[in-house]
């Protein structure tokens, strides 16, 4: 499943864990787990973005209205990329 997911991620432009869960016919929690596994094994990298705007917002009048919902992005690491390439060859 890890490989399957890695291949999916390699192909995709965006990831919706929900969609992957229904596509692979697995519970969502499991898909999340597999993601975590891929991250801890170093195939993927997760980037939470700036999850807080406390720091630079400083004296900004709009600071309290600042929405800090991060948009998460995922990158294939070099390890992940190399692995996918080797899989295709």
């Amino acid at each position: 499943m890890l490989k399957e997911l890695l291949v999916e991620i390699g192909r995709a432009d965006y990831i919706s864990k929900y969609m992957l869960a229904s596509k692979m016919n697995q519970p969502l929690g499991l898909i999340e787990d597999v993601f975590t596994q891929l991250i801890r094994l170093g195939f993927l990298e997760e980037d939470e973005g700036l999850s807080t705007c406390d720091l630079p917002c400083g004296r900004c009048p709009y600071a309290s209205m600042c929405n800090t919902n991060p948009i998460k992005t995922i990158n294939l690491t070099k390890k992940g990329q190399d692995y996918l390439t080797s899989l295709l060859n």
């Binding site: 499943m1 965006y14 864990k17 929900y18 229904s22 009048p61 709009y62 209205m65 992005t73």
Partner: protein, 670 residues
């Protein structure tokens, strides 16, 4: 002392509840040696025997990812528990059984407490416990820890397990190649005297786990064998492959265990989330939908913010201003106090206060949009366009942040690894119209386009994005060339935005906004006010004041854009200090033009609709505020780039404002 039972489980599996249920008040808390992880121990009496119960930290895995994991792993390997009770959350079986699989690999005696079966039942998840137990080769006992149900069965199973031999068979295959490697490795390992389970060690070696590799390194006998060394080196070559295959094998094993032993309600094939995403992220429709949503947001902002709330607010301010002014006059305060308070503060700050409802509503709506999860979709939709101009889509995330404030906007480009992406993202961020510019637009909208506020504001933001994209394309063709790096965006599930929370915070927002904006405005306006009344003797706020003279010096460059007055020039330049100050500054300098009249009507008399548009375009594009320039310097590490950012934006803003005015005049607009 009797036998030892160790409790292991995922976080939130109910492990603590079970531990408390088993041990009652018979427990003490300490620390595991060398780490800050809490160690809990207790005792339980069952059928005239006393068992020691050790509660291990909650963990998903038994590797080396966190202290918790290591503590749990080390205790199971070297603490010699007589039996391990694996607490499993029945509502989340697959995830929990992953840990169980690792326990089985370790070969320790395990029993499963299938906890939260009540919760599972309420979710219509049912188990064939006997089959489950058969496939795992270990006892599985359903429990409801919080109601103390199943505890006796659990302890009975534990005591039997302690006295019995090892676990039953469980069939996990990691694939032929790995299985053979494991057999060979185990036969090598069996020659050394190792205190840890060989099977587990062999698997961990293939997975390349530090802990296991270290043990191998310490085995002199192994290291002395050339056979082993070449075998071992061969393993390292395929490590990535093995890592994935082994973890995969565990998941597959879990899948085969669960299949047929667990029944749960079928999940709908396509959820409405998928359907919504099909539409919202559509290749063609995604973008127009995004535009339409933003337009609606701006329209609503004006509908709610101005028509409903704004009127009363503005009237209130005006009345308050009058009261303060007559108060000051009646106590015959010195001229400069009255002047500073009425022309400086009330005229300046008052304008901003009048627009607070609008700003609040806009942020409220944008906040709701973000809370709902839509912004991630918008960022994805923009990704396609960003790529077309040679940028990666993550850039759009920093742009969204820039709509609030360019300072964190510039800072958030940190997450772009590639220098090219990063530099471009920094340089175009100032075109994202920040919150502090909103009052400036609002003044001009109120003066000239009160009926079309939403549309005007939308067009301004749109122009900002457009200019950003155009400049990005130019930069990526000239200054920074290179590859577009690839990344994947995660679309979070949609959520119902919590309107109640947002509204509850509204008052906090207003007061905080007032204090913070007030401080900034007061600072800038006070400084400018002094320049506006000096030198002593000249007409205050007149063209002969220091401020007037400086403004008049600059003003001619804005002539071609149609707003070549010294007041407009001063207003724009105050914006380089802080954009919040522009409206207040205009309020102050125009207070001299038509005594006492409010800013909007003064603006109406000195600008035309066309020059107003030119001024707004200038405001949108010209030099960002000092804080942003400082952040650009910090993030690029270069004064040169900061200066470039400050000047090219000014040049571009000027050029666009001139174009608007000149072309507009040619076309007969006024």
């Amino acid at each position: 002392m009797g036998n030892t039972i160790a409790l292991v489980g995922n976080p939130n599996s109910g492990k603590t509840t079970l531990f408390n249920a088993l041990t009652g008040s018979n427990q003490h808390v300490g620390n595991w040696p060398g780490v800050t992880v809490e160690r809990k121990e207790g005792e339980v009496r069952f059928r005239d025997k006393v068992y020691k119960v050790v509660d291990l930290p909650g963990t998903y895995s038994l590797g080396a990812f966190s202290e918790d994991e290591m503590v749990a792993r080390d205790y199971i390997l070297t603490g010699n528990p007589d039996v391990v009770i694996n607490v499993v959350d029945a509502t989340n079986l697959e995830r929990n059984l992953y840990l169980t699989t690792q326990l089985l690999e370790m070969g320790v005696k395990v029993i499963v407490a299938l906890n939260m079966v009540d919760e599972a039942e309420s979710k219509e998840i049912y188990f064939d416990v006997k089959a489950l137990s058969g496939r795992l080769g270990i006892p599985v006992i359903p429990t409801i820890a919080c109601r103390r149900q199943g505890l006796d069965d659990l302890l009975a199973a534990a005591s039997i397990k302690i006295d019995s031999a090892k676990n039953g068979q469980f069939a996990i295959s990691y694939g032929e190649s790995i299985d053979t490697k494991l057999i060979t490795l185990k036969s090598y390992l069996s020659k050394s005297e190792l205190a840890i389970p060989l099977n587990w060690l062999a698997i961990k070696v293939l997975e390349g786990e530090e802990y296991a590799l270290r043990i191998i390194k310490e085995q002199e006998a192994l290291q002395g064998s050339t056979d082993f060394r070449s075998f071992y080196e061969e393993l390292a070559v395929h490590r990535d492959e093995y890592q994935l295959d082994i973890v995969d094998a565990r998941y597959n094993f879990v899948n085969t265990i669960v299949k047929g032993t667990v029944s749960r309600p079928a999940e709908p094939k396509t959820t409405w989330t998928d359907k919504a995403d099909d539409i919202l992220t559509h290749k063609i429709w995604g973008l127009p939908i995004f535009a339409a949503i933003m337009l609606i947001v701006f329209q609503l902002t004006f509908a709610i913010g101005e028509d409903v709330l704004g009127e009363s607010m503005a009237e209130g301010i005006e009345a308050l201003g009058e009261i303060i002014k007559s108060g000051l006059v009646s106590i015959s305060a010195p001229w400069w106090v009255t002047g500073f308070v009425t022309e400086g503060i009330i005229a300046g700050l008052g304008e901003i206060i009048g627009f607070i409802p609008l700003i609040l509503v806009l942020y409220l709506l944008l906040g709701l949009l973000e809370d709902s999860g839509y912004m991630a979709r918008a960022a994805y939709v923009m990704d396609n366009i960003m790529r077309a101009v040679g940028l990666q889509g993550k850039t759009f995330i920093s742009m969204i942040v820039g709509f609030g404030c360019n300072v964190p906007g510039v800072m958030s480009t940190r997450t772009l690894e590639n220098r090219k992406d990063r530099m471009i993202a920094i340089l175009i961020n100032p075109f994202m119209s920040c919150g502090a510019k909103i009052p400036i637009y609002l003044v001009f909208i109120a003066a000239f386009f009160p009926k079309h506020g939403g549309l005007v504001l939308f067009s301004i933001y749109f122009l900002g994005i457009l200019m950003a994209l155009i400049m990005a394309k130019i930069f990526s063709k000239t200054l920074f060339t290179g590859e577009v790096s690839h990344f994947i965006m995660e679309l979070p599930p949609y959520r119902k935005p919590t309107l109640r929370n947002v509204i509850r915070n509204m008052w906090d927002n207003v007061s905080e906004f007032l204090v913070r904006a007030g401080t900034i405005i007061l600072t800038v306006v006070s400084a400018l006010w002094i320049l506006a009344v000096l030198p002593v003797g000249v007409e205050a706020y007149g063209p002969e004041s220091i401020l007037g003279r400086v403004g008049s010096l600059i003003a001619p460059i804005f002539k071609p854009a149609g707003f070549g007055t010294w007041q407009a020039a001063v207003g724009l330049f105050s914006g380089i200090a802080a954009k919040e100050a522009v409206v207040a500054t205009l309020g102050m300098v125009y207070a001299g033009v038509s005594e006492g009249a409010e800013l909007v009507s003064t603006i109406r008399s000195v600008f035309t609709p066309l020059t107003a548009v030119a001024f707004m375009v200038m405001t949108l594009l010209y030099t960002p505020c000092a804080a942003t320039i400082a952040m650009i310097k910090k993030e690029t590490g270069s004064v040169k780039w900061a200066t470039f950012a400050a000047t090219y934006t000014f040049a571009l803003g000027w050029l666009m404002a001139v174009l608007v005015f000149q072309i507009g005049s040619l076309l007969g607009f006024a």
